[in-house]
Amino acid sequence: MRPTVTHTPSTTTPAGAAFSPPAAADAALVLQGLNKELGGRPIVTDLDLAVARGELVCLLGPSGCGKTTTLRMVAGFLAPDRGAIVVDGKDVTGLPPERRPSAMVFQSYALWPHMTVFKNVAFPLRLKGVGKAQIAERVEAALELVNLTHHMGSRPGRISGGEQQRVALARALVQEPALLLLDEPLSNLDARLRVKVREEIREIQQRLGITTLLVTHDQDEALSVSDRIAVMNDGRIEQVSAPTQLYAEPETEFVATFVGSLNRVSGTFSDGGFVPGPEVTAVRPEDISLHDHPGSATFPVRVDRVVPHGSFIEVVLSGEGQTLRAFRSGTVPVVGSQVHARVERSMAFVDGRRVS
């Protein structure tokens, strides 16, 4: 039985405000018990997710984790084997893509090369039978939003990758969709442009208050633009949390490893020494402090390597039979010297689950 979700008027949320997990009735998008097998292999298993109105939720995970399959089911290109997709209180599970209230930005942008930028953006409106004058007005507004009005007459093949990406975004936004879907929208851009465009996307998303589902394998991208992140692994959602929460309090070993850097050892650090054991102890590199003199709960380590990263320095240490990485700023330790390390904060996992 599929749940009936009642339509509720949108509640405006101030930009940047933290979202709490929405109640199903309040959500702009609800995924309920989605299952999908492809070629006899389960790709997505029992996936539940609710996205609040105006919220940007990111599906983050390694390639093959089922995040793109999930997005394609939401867009309507794949039919789920079981489960329901509800957009704005309406069950769209059985609808073809052209009748869904969502608009997608493709990884490859998928701009039609035989149409000008203007015609690309105008196409969805022409299909809807919008009048000529209104099309011109809305297309211009959409292109203005992405700063591309000067390229209206250009063909997609003649503009840069970043500009093509913005045209694809304008083509999605001009439809005023109930739900914006972004499939790895930045993966074809170079590193510098990626940071710029993702900030633009986030800024526009917040300004318009448009509900967005973004798929990425890039944790930086997910952490920097999302209201909440759903980390996927092996077809399941491991954790759904706000970016800071996700980083500071990962619920599973997978999430801890996938998001941010991590030292992982089998055993525990206790009272300044290392005790081998069955449980996995995970320490973020910034949670290891280095001291010149022994103190409480410190243990001696040797500096093996120093890797400058610009704003911080990565120090590779060995001690207690373990190799550890620590991040620090300020003075650069001498390679080969003996220093004292202290674990300021650690997490413990048993069978992949967080225990402390």
Binding site: P97, S102, P113, H114, L127
Partner: protein, 270 residues
């Protein structure tokens, strides 16, 4: 230094030979068509005239042949497109059982000597009453174009990125709309190339037309046989030039609109 010189000399010699063998006959043809007579030791013809052109145009049989050719070739392209393009779309876009075998099977019509094929076809055509009919000739012509009209558009349809079609679906277009607004325009350069090649194949077809159409329907290439045997050489030259006009025109058009156009540019996109 010396080696570079020899390479240069050899290259120049090769290019000169190429010019002589390719342009030579064309030049000879061009001069012939306007010459009163041209005998061996003279480098230039004895006189210039447009008489042969007048004669070719005035000759009833020859002008009928021109008309026939200009009817059969477009007709063949249309019939072939109607029959083959849907198949090409299926080959390019769908993976079905027996796809590979059928693709190779289509090539089979071109794998055997044409004459053998036509002889067996002739016996069938006699039985079906297709000899000396327009339909019979069109069937023979279409057969020669099936490979072009299937393989090239199939590759063109297959090369249209699926994401472009999906984006159109996402934007609100029905599957039929997607085909006519996205898939077909993007596959058009390949389809146009296939049409040009089919047109030329039909325009140049002589053996099958002769077998099926003689003596009621004679096209330009079939007329060449009797021209060479029964008319002055100059008229054959004029006719050859006429016969090559569509090829040159179509190739020029194809070059301008397919190779240089924005459609080709579009294919550089992902």
């Amino acid at each position: 230094m010396a080696r570079r010189l020899t390479t240069n000399v050899l290259l120049t010699l090769f290019l000169a030979l190429l010019v002589v063998f390719i342009l030579g006959p064309l030049l000879w043809l061009g001069i012939r068509a306007f010459a009163t007579s041209w005998t061996y030791p003279n480098l230039l013809p004895d006189g210039w005239t447009l008489e042969w052109w007048r004669k070719v145009i005035a000759d009833n049989q020859l002008s009928t042949a021109v008309q026939n050719s200009l009817t059969f070739a477009p007709l063949t392209v249309i019939v072939s497109a109607v029959i083959c393009l849907p198949a090409a779309y299926a080959f390019g876009r769908h993976d079905f059982a027996g796809r590979k075998i059928m693709l190779v099977g289509i090539f089979a019509t071109n794998a055997f000597p044409k004459m053998g094929l036509f002889v067996t076809m002739a016996s069938m055509f006699y039985a079906l009453g297709l000899m000396q009919t327009v339909l019979g000739i069109v069937i023979v012509h279409v057969m020669g174009t099936v490979v072009f009209m299937t393989w090239i558009p199939a590759a063109a349809f297959g090369a249209v990125p699926r994401s472009l079609e999906e984006a159109a679906r996402d934007a609100g277009a029905s599957p039929a709309r997607v085909f006519f607004r996205v898939t077909l325009p993007l596959a058009l350069p390949g389809i146009l190339v296939a049409m040009v090649m089919s047109f030329l194949a039909s325009f140049d077809e002589a053996q099958g037309t002769y077998l099926v159409g003689y003596p009621d329907y004679l096209t330009m290439p079939t007329q060449m046989y009797s021209l060479v045997l029964n008319y002055p050489l100059q008229m054959a030259a004029v006719f050859s030039i006429l016969l090559s006009i569509p090829s040159v025109l179509l190739l020029a058009l194809a070059h301008r609109h397919i190779m240089g156009g924005q459609l080709a540019e579009g294919f550089q996109l992902r």
